[in-house]
């Protein structure tokens, strides 16, 4: 190649520049064009808009739970009994696979106080996304939830205690309404 360059007439470099510039402009344009085709795979605007839900909590019986789908994802809202709350609070967080206190897993009401009776957690097992079973069926060895797919046991705070799941059931972003009768969960 170096030999060629020496033999070139003086304006040859300018001509090379034209080809390189044209090629670069084509490559740049193709790259920019690719973006809309990548972006169209993102959740569409209507999908994103439908990703929050207000759930009334007054009707949940003590010791029971309701399950809701938001944007296709399951969530558990559990009305815990005094014994379940006590069990969740009595555990030493440091001993857990994913250390977290029960208090850290609650969201304050509008007046700033916590409502330990209501626990809101994601309904997807952190192992491989199965939906654990809970009150009324099999609450597992720790009284919370049990995932039948691969045997993960969650306690009454939704924390992983035994089994292959790596982390606690995540607490979604949610807030209480003014009078505390409902929670609005967002993805």
């Amino acid at each position: 190649m170096t030999d060629d360059k020496d033999n070139k007439p003086p304006n040859e470099d300018r001509r090379d520049f034209i080809h390189i510039a044209a090629g670069a402009a084509v490559a740049g344009g193709a790259g920019a064009l690719a973006w809309p085709f990548v972006a169209q795979m993102l959740p569409a605007l209507d999908t994103r808009a439908a990703s929050s839900l207000e759930v009334p909590i007054t009707g949940i019986p003590e010791g029971g739970e309701i399950r809701v789908l938001i944007g296709g994802k399951p969530f558990f809202i559990r009305h815990r009994t005094a014994a379940e709350i006590a069990a969740a609070e009595s555990v030493e967080a440091g001993d857990l696979p994913d250390p977290q206190t029960d208090e850290e897993r609650l969201v304050a009401r509008a007046d700033g106080t916590l409502n330990p009776a209501i626990l809101v957690v994601s309904g997807s097992c952190t192992h491989l996304g199965c939906v654990p079973v809970g009150p009324g069926s099999n609450t597992g060895e720790f009284g919370g939830w049990y995932c039948p797919c691969h045997g993960s046991h969650y306690d009454t705070s939704g924390r992983i205690r035994k089994g292959p799941a790596p982390t606690n059931l995540p607490v979604p972003t949610y807030e209480y309404n003014a009078d505390g009768s409902a929670v609005t969960i967002s993805l």
């Binding site: 001509r15 034209i18 080809h19 402009a25 344009g29 439908a50 207000e54 009707g59």
Partner: protein, 302 residues
């Protein structure tokens, strides 16, 4: 170069002939017609006039929504760029305004006990339809189903011009010395005679149709237009604009047409601004590649 020019000319000819045909399909403008507004959303740099879109939305809510659905629109659309509630400086205020507006309307859902319960609508919910189903819509309007307005401007030849003309085109009472549902007396350069409006229908010169069946004059000069089931809606002062604009008939027609144009094509501003970038890019790329082409072929006799 000669061949290239011929090629461009050929492309232009073939490209434009169907375009010209399509353009020919729009409404003819006869001499007596009042001038059309200059739509700010037309042309390469066209943008919607947001204040007008806002007023148009008020007109839709207070007048049109009683009969016409907009099934494809959700409240969240109102706060999207270009929408009536959009505030570029304060996205939170936009969101709050949309949510507050949506709350005025209820939607029925099935609760955990299988009962129907009403809850206020949220931004993600669609606009409510005035009728529960098409049968109800037809029954309430003498068999004519009020068309959905979601894409109405794209669904009518003439687009916003057509909407504007239709809204302002109903004959006025003074002009025809008669009553609606009665006889319309024509006595102009073109038509002399009496047009009897069929019961429950209203004559409009811009509505596509055929008036000759109810025309007692020279059939060659039957008035242009047709009948529609919608009585005239837009009159001076029909709405009380929140922004204080004087609500003349022309102003209302202008605003509702603009709002419907936005609703039909909410991504129009994105399209035109991206188009400008693409055109400039292609233009400079064409120049670069042309010189590259010239350089490569410089030593070849062809």
């Amino acid at each position: 170069m000669k061949a290239f020019k011929a090629c461009l000319a050929g492309l232009a000819l073939l490209g434009l002939s169907p375009a010209a045909m399509a353009a020919g399909g729009t409404m003819p403008l006869s001499e007596g017609d009042a001038p059309l507004p200059d739509w700010p959303f037309e042309g390469v740099f066209g943008k919607f006039d947001q204040a007008s879109v806002q007023r148009g939305f008020q007109v839709y809510t207070e007048v049109c929504a009683a009969c016409h659905s907009m099934e494809l629109l959700s409240y969240r659309n109102l706060g999207e760029p270009g929408g009536p509630f959009y505030n570029a400086d304060d996205p939170e205020a936009t969101e709050a305004a949309v949510a507050e507006f949506a709350r005025q309307y209820e939607i029925t859902e099935i609760d955990d006990y299988g009962d129907e319960v009403a809850r206020p609508r949220r931004p993600a919910d669609r606009f409510p339809s005035p009728y529960p189903n098409v049968q109800a819509a037809a029954a309430a309007n003498g068999g004519a189903i009020p068309p959905d307005f979601s894409v109405i401007v794209k669904a009518r030849p003439g687009g916003a011009d057509y909407i504007y003309r239709l809204m302002t085109g109903y004959p006025s009472y003074e002009e025809f010395q008669g009553e609606y549902g009665d006889e319309l007396h024509f006595n102009d350069d073109h038509s002399h005679g009496v047009l009897t409006q069929p019961a429950g229908l209203y004559y409009n010169p811009y509505f596509p149709g055929d008036t000759s069946g109810n025309w007692d004059g020279d059939p060659r000069h039957a008035p242009a237009g047709g009948y529609l089931a919608m009585p005239p809606q837009i009159t001076d002062g029909r709405v009380d604009y929140m922004d204080g604009t004087e609500a003349t008939q022309e102003q209302i027609a202008y605003d509702i047409s603009q709002f419907l144009a936005w609703a039909s094509e909410p991504k129009m501003e994105n399209r035109k601004s991206l188009g400008l970038v693409v055109m400039i890019y292609l233009f400079f790329l064409a120049i670069l590649v042309y010189f590259s082409y010239k350089a490569i072929w410089r030593n070849v006799e062809h």
